[in-house]
Structure formats: structure tokens, C-alpha cells
Symmetry: C2
Subunit: 581 residues, 2 copies
């Protein structure tokens, strides 16, 4: 089983397929997958060359074998995939060496909504079909590769996980700015993929081995699973109308050795690499040990473009997309006025939010439909990660499914019913889930009581394989006008959740002042104390001057704003209410 | 020795003298002390009657025997006092029972500055003279009684302590509002007297035994030394041109029993009480045990009128009377413009200060004279306790000496030289002293280091009998623009001084933001965190809106403002910068 070797011994992929097929006469526009049926010996020959060069994992010739790309190929897709898997196995038989057959899954070639027109579920369906065939034909794992769109990756990974039992590896194409074509940085990709619980992840194509080093370094600093590196044979150059790659096998091999030394656990080649490149690489690296993967324990959420890590200082979750107590917002929801919601999102981003809470719950509307629309709409205007905030489990799942990234999910509680419903979604779709410290017996009046509920939530989450890093605890701020100890209990519980339980925290800050005058004064001061007590992320109004002053001052004072640089930049020359204080 | 019995067994004073002398023919305007020379047998007879009734402590007939009151009496003061002491001893000899001779010291009859014209040192001199005579004549203790002015009390106690070795008891006259004539409440008196380290304190005259019960209850709840109660025989009534007291001996005795049950350790009578009252009282109470005095451990400072206890919530020390960085203030000091200083004091009181810092240090002025003048001036316009803030030890002592109350003193440091100079003043004059966590090696960069300096200050103070309750530690807020960890270290140290050392804390808050823009934002947020971390008193600008908002919000949020009542009263209807937060 590949899972037993993964991360423990260095594993070798094969190299390029397309370049070799072109050399054998593949015409421009011709679907390479048809050769599985029409020129099986050529395909088997290429596989065999890689196997003889020493590859442990060999990709099937199925890069474009999905219903959206492999159209009018003249063969049923199922037959093509079955043959492709068979060719790897035949090549291994002939070479007299057993290898892992990796079902190669490339992109659909279409952009998904909201960036393009392809529906998430249509992409999903295309991947599902190919993957089910691949598993039936005997593939040992699924390798989703050369991906540029996190949303498409998510569709592909979900298709694999919901319909097969195979291990899933994912590699994507980064450019020299260390971004995917659709904007994701390394952290956003790692965040998404680890949320989806893939078995290995990494980078392929696009760059040569040397250019991949900075990407690798970032991958290694964030990832808690084994990292795959499959460079091209250098950067592509045009030479007499042809694309050529100019990194020679020896040079390729030397850099791949450095890549293993740095910590890659699976290596291979992409465009322009040949059995000679792979052979040299394996001779250079054979016998090297793999750096153990260390668990990063990062609490991160992401969008299609960026990720937010909780932990250094405090993060701002914009609270404004929520109809509670907002007449205009309620009307906008009833009127299906998506623009209103998007504007609130944009405004909060401009004012400094790091994550946006999205709550569209209202008795008279179809919350599931509205939530999906709001999430997709917001993801078309902002790259901030979103917090899916609903008590409707259907709306929650629908939003988590189409959400492009690893969302924050608000919330689960200590009630058994809530945990039974929410945790399976987190385990499947990925996400950081907010655990409210209340259960069947209500909200405990003491910090001790809230800690006990938090512990229960942590224990139950562990049964689903959800680690503490993917939980944040909301200790609940009870309004002080009715609960005089509300603030004290919340602040104590906050600090203890961080210190004693080692779990991050979140808190809806403004509830504290309900029913009292001049609420911003109370909210801002409570916010400051909460940050100081260990609030990893506050659900606040980023358009509130008082709240942002609290935020900025806290970070400047506590050393989270180097040399107070951000503070000085924002406040120098600003008119302040008073000069002396 | 009286000190051995004190607080362990119930001690009985004698009763009234004046009423009895009038009955024997003392004329209006005649000085009762002349009878020591002229009618010794009458005096001895009265003492003997009390001794035979069972009194343990007998007061000499010297109530008015001081140079300011006993003028034109026809006898040298020393002779009168010597005889008066002798009469108690002769009475005891005749009665065949040994008693403690208490040198009776009453008020001068004049008001001290700034309320009246009498100089502090003139009052002191009058008391000194009488007390030295009393000790030479063989008195066992000094009983300063029927006092109405804390400043005069301070002069009398200092005279006793600096010039005799006798135990000092002090009782004052409270009215039914539980105030001295000059305005001091019970707490202010206790604060002053315990600062001056008297041996016993309490109440006499003015009220009957029943009316004294509420005063007693307050005395017992604050005092850490044995409490004296000496009521009149009821409230005075005019009857046919004469003052009469209508509480009969039996009734007097019954109430005195209740007074002992509540916790008084020394009881006796004042105006209108007779040997019959005292005899009944002693028969009623003989054999009763004394409630053990419990140490209250209150950190308190006081003025002539009121006291401030540190501990519940945080207190505001107004920082504005300080020339540092203030051009106008410096000019006012140079111009000897006391008005300027007083206005700053009044403004800060109006804006909510609990204590006023007084710093008038400037290179070119006579700081001692200016400090004394500023302290006396401020005490004529505000009843807030003051913090005497100077590095000039002469100015510090001069101000502590004339200060009417128990001051806060800023500061001592962990330097041996500083402790050697400041601690003797605290031990003598009373005061709560601010200990700065710096020593010969500078300001430690870590919380650990500052805790170690605080521990050194606490140890050294103990050598002078200065308890932890009379120390507050300033952990020093270093400006974050040059010390990025300045705020974090100060906040950590603050919390640890409170929790680990059990000592109160003080901090100059606004230094944190030096050199940065919009300082009130940083100051207010740091202030909030400091209060939450355990800041007993912040040295801040009470005229700063941001600081007071932080103060008010902290107290409303953390349950120090019952039902947020103060907050609602102050902010309801107030226009706030923004509505939503
Ligand atoms: Zn490639
Ligand atoms: Zn070669
Ligand atoms: Zn009296």
C-alpha cells in the first residue's frame, strides 16, 4: 500500500508523456488519450522506459480523460481509462518490477463559476466518472495534477473522496510569483488541500527545478503532509516553432537532489523530462532519506486567493453581513438584493477585515439558495476567506461544498445533535469550525463550565479526525446589562481556552453592550481586553472607528506591528479627538 | 505595661471631669487645670471615685494644658501638668489599686492652616511641651482626645512620637453623620492614625452611647488596632440654662455592654458621665472578653476629609500637576502662580480623579517651599488625597509633615540610597509609597527582573515595619516606540505583582505612547489592558475623554459599577462618535 511508504521513503514518479508522444507523431489537436486504444505499444513503451529508469509511481495516459475534455475522441471514456490503467500494469509486468499505478487526472480546461461558466457539480461529475472507471480498472491512487483553479481542485478531490477509496495526491502549477493562475498563493492551496484531507500535495509543471525551490520552501513551511515536486525540464523556450526545455538530465538530477535535501518526499518530472532525466534523478537520489514531515498545527482558513492563519495577534471577522437587528439588511434579503450584501463585504474589506462572516438567515427566505448565492457572489468581489454562519445544516453543507477554499464555519455547539450534524461536514469539506460553549443544559455561568463544554467539543471532534487546529472556541460574551459577570467570565474562559486547551478562540464582541448607551465605548474596551486575554479572532464591525482603534492600538502596543509601522502609517497626521491624554 | 494588655483584655477608662468640677463650683471661664494647684483634694477625690468604681486608665486633669489654651492661668504649665499626673497617682495610692495614668491632651482650641491661622509647627510645639512634661512627671501613656481636626491630630501625634516614648491613644469627636467637625469621615481618621502608627484609636464625646454605634461599626470595619469608645451620657439638652445629659447609669452600662460585644477594646465615658455611670458600666462588662483585632490589610490614603482604598476596580491619580513637558506649567512655577496649580487640581477632581499627583520639581525653584505651598493650597480647595511626587527628599519630608492626612508618596526605588532615605519618612509620617522597579543596575528588561526588584523593595520596607499594604509597585511602562516589548513586559509584571506578591500597583500610563501619533488611542487601550491586568491606580489625565471612557467602560464591564449604573448615568443620551460598533 502506497500509504505505508508515503513520507517514510523517498518515492519516484515518472516524467513527461506529452513531449514523448509528440516525438512519436502525436499531431496538434489529436487527443493523446486515443493512443491508449490506437497505439498501445507506444504507451506501454514509454511507461516501461520510466519503470526501467526506476520510477515507483507511473501515471496513466489519462491527463485529459474526462467528459468535458475528451469529447469526440471516438472511444467511450471508460474504455480509454481501462486500457490506460492496463498499459501501466503491462509495462510493469514486462519490466519485471511492480509499481504503483497513478490515475492521472488533469483539469477540465474550463473555468468554474464564479470565474467562469462551469457549474461546480458539472466539474464534479466529470471527475467522478473518470475516477470510478480508474478505480475499477485497478489504479492504486489518483493523482490530480497541473491544476490552476482551487475550485476545480476541490471538485476533483471531492469526486475522488466521495466515490473511491483511493489515496489522493494533488499538484498544482505555480508561477514565479508563487501563485496559481487563478490567484491562490501557496498557503491558500495548502489550506484547501489539507482541509480536504489529501494524502500528498505539491507542485508540478510551469517551472524548472531551480525556479521551484522558493515554492517548495513555502510548501514545506506550511504543509503537514508529504510534498510532491515535479518540475519541467526548465522553462519552456520557443525554438523554430517548437517548445523546447533546456535543463539537461544531469543538471536536472543535481537540483532534484537539493529538492530532496530540503524536504520533498515524492519527486518526478513534468514537461520536457524524459526517462533519461528520471534515470539520472533516481541515480542521484537513490537511498536518500526523507525529512520527516512535521505537523504545523496551523489554524488556517482560505479563499481562492489567500489564506489567513490565526495566532499572531488577533484577526478581524467582519460581522456586518448578518440581518440580526438590521431592517435594511432584512429587506435586501427579501428583495433578493445581492448587491447590498456584496457592498457590505467590499466595505468591510476596505476597512480592514481579514475574514467575512456570512449570515443570511431569515424565516421567510430559502436560506440554502441565498447562502450559496451570497457565497459565490462574495467570492467574485473579494478574496477574503468567508465564515459560513448558519444554523441550517442544509445551507451549511451547500455553502461549504461550493465555497472556493477552506471556510470558517459558524457553528457547532456542545449539543450532541449539533456535533453529529456538523462534524461530518468538516471532516469531508474541510473548514475551521467555531465551537460554542453551550450544550443541552444551556450556557454555563462560569469559566469552568464553559471550559468543560469546550473539552467535550474537542473530544467529540477528535472522533471524526478533526484536530484542535481546526476548532476555534467561542466562549460567548453575555451582555453585561443582564449578566454582570458576563465580561469577566468570557475573558477568563478565553484565556484558559488558549492556555489550558491550546485551542484558538473567536468571539462576537458587540453583544456585550446590548441595552446600554454609547455601545462603541464598551465594545471597544471589551475588544481590547479580549485580544489581550487571547482572542484569536473577533467578530466585529470593521467600519467602527472605535473598534479599529482598539485593534490597531493593541497590535502596536503588544509588538505585533513591527516598530509600530502600520500604526504610524495609519495615524500620523490624523486628527485626534483630543491631543493630550 | 499598657501595651501588653492592649487589645487582649477589656480596659476601662474613667468618665467625665468637667461636669463634676462644675458641680464642685468651677466657674464659667475658669481654667479647670488651675484646680490641680488650687483644689488638689477635689481632683484627687474625683480620680479616686473612678478608681474605686474600677477604672484601669485614669486621665489627668490636663485637657486644656497647652500653651495655646492655658494662658494667664497664673501657674507655669509644667507645674500644672506635674501636679495633675501626681494627683492620679495619689488617688490610686489612696484607693490601694494601681492604674495607668493617661496624660490627657485636648485640642488647642485654634484651627490650623489652611483652614485657620495656626501654623502646624506652632501647634506641634504646644503639644510637645505638654507631653514632655507629662512623660517626665510619670504618665504611662498619652491620650489625645476630643479632637476635631485631623491636622491638629497629626501635630499632636508627631509631637508625642518624636519627643516621648509613651504609647499614644487618639479619640476624636464624630457627629451623627459620622464626620469630624472639619469634615473627616471615619475612614479618613483611621487611615491617618494608622499611618502615624498610634497604639489605639476611637471616638469620644459628642454623642451618647447609642448614637456611637454606627461610628463604632465603621471604626471596627477599617481599624487594625484596638478601638476606644467613650460616649457622653447621652446627647446634651438645655434645662433651665444648664446643659444636662439624660442617659442614666444603668442604661449607659447596658449600651456599653453592646459596644464591647461589637468589638470595642477600651471603654469609658465623657461629658455627663460620673463614677456611677462608670461603676455600672464596669459591673455590666467585667469579665467580658475582647474580640481579637483583625488586620484589615487595606491600602489607603487620605486627606483631611476622605480616604481612598485601593483594591476594588482601579483608581485614578490625576497626572496634570507636573511641569514635565508643559511650558505653561513651568512658567506658572517660575511666576509662583499658585492659582494655576489649584485650577489644575480642581479641574481634575471635577473630571473624576480620586487622588492628585503633585510634582513641582523644576531646576530653578525652591522645590521644598513650593511643594509645601502647593500641598497646603491644594488642601484648601480639594479634599482629594494627594500624591507627593518628588525626587528631593527634603521637599518630600516637608510636604509629608504638613500634609493633612495620609499621603501617597512617589517614589522610592530599589536603589539602597533611595530606600535608606524614604522608608524612615514613611515609618514616621505614614503614607503609601510607590516603589519603582529599578535599582542600581537600571530598569530590568523582563517581568522577572522587575518582580525581583519589587521583592527587594518589599523586604527592605519590612525592616522599617512598613507592611505590604503601604507599598504600591510601579512596574514602569517603557515607551513602545523604542522598547517594542515595553507594554507586554509591564502588563505581565503588573499582573504578577498583584497575584504573586499580593501588592497593589500604580503606573504612569501615558509614557507608553511617547513619540507616536494619536497618543490618546494608544494610552487609552494600554490603560484598559493595564486595569484588566491588575492596575490598582493609574496615573492618568482625567481630562482625557479617551482615558475616562476606558476607565468607565472597564468598570462597567468588569462588574465594578453595579448594574452599570454609573455608566448609564454618565453616557445615556450622550452623543457618541458612531452608533454601531
Ligand atoms: Zn508539465
Ligand atoms: Zn545521461
Ligand atoms: Zn465630652
Amino acid at each position: 500500500m502506497i500509504r505505508e511508504d508515503l513520507g517514510k521513503k523517498l518515492l519516484f514518479f515518472d516524467g513527461g508523456m506529452g513531449t514523448l508522444l509528440q516525438a512519436k507523431g502525436l499531431k496538434p489537436g489529436e487527443l493523446p488519450e486515443t493512443w491508449n486504444a490506437e497505439r498501445p505499444e507506444d504507451i506501454i513503451g514509454i511507461h516501461r522506459a520510466y519503470i526501467e529508469a526506476g520510477s515507483d509511481l507511473v501515471l496513466t495516459n489519462t491527463f485529459g480523460a474526462n467528459a468535458l475534455k475528451f469529447r469526440d475522441g471516438g472511444y467511450p471514456l471508460g474504455e480509454i481509462i481501462e486500457k490506460a490503467v492496463g498499459h501501466v500494469k503491462e509495462a510493469a509486468r514486462r519490466a519485471g518490477r511492480s509499481v504503483y499505478t497513478a490515475l492521472d487526472v488533469g483539469p477540465t480546461g474550463k473555468l468554474l463559476k464564479p470565474m467562469g461558466d462551469l457549474e461546480f457539480e458539472d466539474a464534479y461529475e466529470a471527475f467522478r466518472q473518470a475516477m470510478v472507471c480508474g478505480e475499477q480498472a485497478g489504479a492504486d491512487l489518483i493523482h490530480i495534477e497541473t491544476m490552476s483553479d482551487t475550485c476545480e481542485i476541490k471538485a476533483a478531490v471531492l469526486a475522488a473522496k466521495e466515490n473511491t477509496k483511493l489515496p489522493v495526491f494533488v499538484t498544482a502549477v505555480f508561477d514565479e510569483r508563487r501563485k496559481l493562475l487563478t490567484g491562490a498563493d501557496v498557503l491558500a492551496l495548502v489550506s484547501l488541500l489539507e482541509g480536504l484531507r489529501v494524502d500528498a500535495l505539491g507542485v508540478n509543471c510551469g517551472l524548472g527545478p531551480v525556479q521551484m525551490l522558493p515554492v517548495l520552501e513555502e510548501l514545506l513551511s506550511y504543509a503537514s503532509v508529504p510534498v510532491i515536486v515535479k518540475p519541467n525540464a526548465g522553462l519552456p523556450k520557443q525554438q523554430g516553432g517548437e517548445t523546447v526545455y533546456d535543463v539537461h538530465p544531469e543538471e536536472f538530477a543535481r537540483t532534484m537532489k537539493v529538492i530532496v535535501e530540503k524536504g520533498a518526499a515524492l519527486i518526478g518530472g513534468c514537461c520536457g523530462t524524459t526517462p533519461e532525466h528520471i534515470g539520472h534523478m533516481i541515480r542521484e537520489c537513490k537511498g536518500m532519506s526523507v525529512k520527516p514531515v512535521c505537523r504545523k498545527n496551523l489554524t488556517m482558513v482560505s479563499s481562492y486567493g489567500q489564506a489567513v492563519i490565526l495566532g499572531s495577534g488577533s484577526k478581524i471577522i467582519g460581522e456586518r453581513i448578518n440581518p440580526t437587528g438590521k431592517k435594511k439588511f432584512k429587506q435586501a434579503l427579501k428583495d433578493h438584493d445581492l448587491d447590498y450584501i456584496l457592498k457590505e463585504g467590499i466595505l468591510q474589506e476596505e476597512n480592514g477585515a481579514h475574514i467575512l462572516d456570512v449570515n443570511v438567515g431569515l424565516p421567510d427566505i430559502d436560506e440554502t439558495a441565498m447562502m450559496v448565492e451570497a457565497v459565490q457572489g462574495l467570492q467574485s468581489v473579494t478574496s477574503l476567506p468567508l465564515q459560513i454562519d448558519t444554523v441550517d445544516i442544509r445551507a451549511m453543507e451547500a455553502a461549504m461544498r461550493i465555497y472556493n477554499g477552506k471556510p470558517m464555519v459558524n457553528s457547532v455547539s456542545g449539543k450532541q445533535e449539533s456535533m453529529d450534524a456538523v462534524f461530518p461536514l468538516i471532516a469531508k469539506y474541510g473548514g475551521v469550525v467555531v465551537g460554542l460553549t453551550l450544550d443541552e443544559e444551556g450556557i454555563p455561568g462560569t469559566a469552568d463550565g464553559r471550559i468543560r463544554v469546550a473539552e467535550k467539543i474537542i473530544r467529540e471532534a477528535a472522533r471524526y479526525g478533526i484536530e484542535k487546529k481546526d476548532l476555534v472556541i467561542d466562549v460567548l460574551a453575555m451582555t453585561v446589562s443582564s449578566e454582570p459577570q458576563g465580561a469577566a467570565v468570557a475573558l477568563e474562559a478565553l484565556g484558559r481556552v488558549r492556555k489550558e486547551l491550546g485551542v484558538h478562540t473567536v468571539l462576537g464582541v458587540s453583544n456585550i453592550s446590548f441595552g446600554l448607551p454609547c455601545r462603541p465605548i464598551l465594545n471597544a474596551n471589551f475588544y481590547t481586553m479580549a485580544m489581550y486575554s487571547g482572542l484569536s479572532a473577533g467578530i466585529v464591525n470593521p467600519s467602527s472607528e472605535a473598534m479599529m482603534e482598539a485593534y490597531d492600538a493593541y497590535h502596536a502596543l503588544l509588538g505585533f506591528d513591527e516598530n509600530c509601522g502600520r500604526y504610524v502609517e495609519k495615524y500620523a497626521g490624523r486628527r485626534v479627538r483630543e491631543q493630550a491624554a
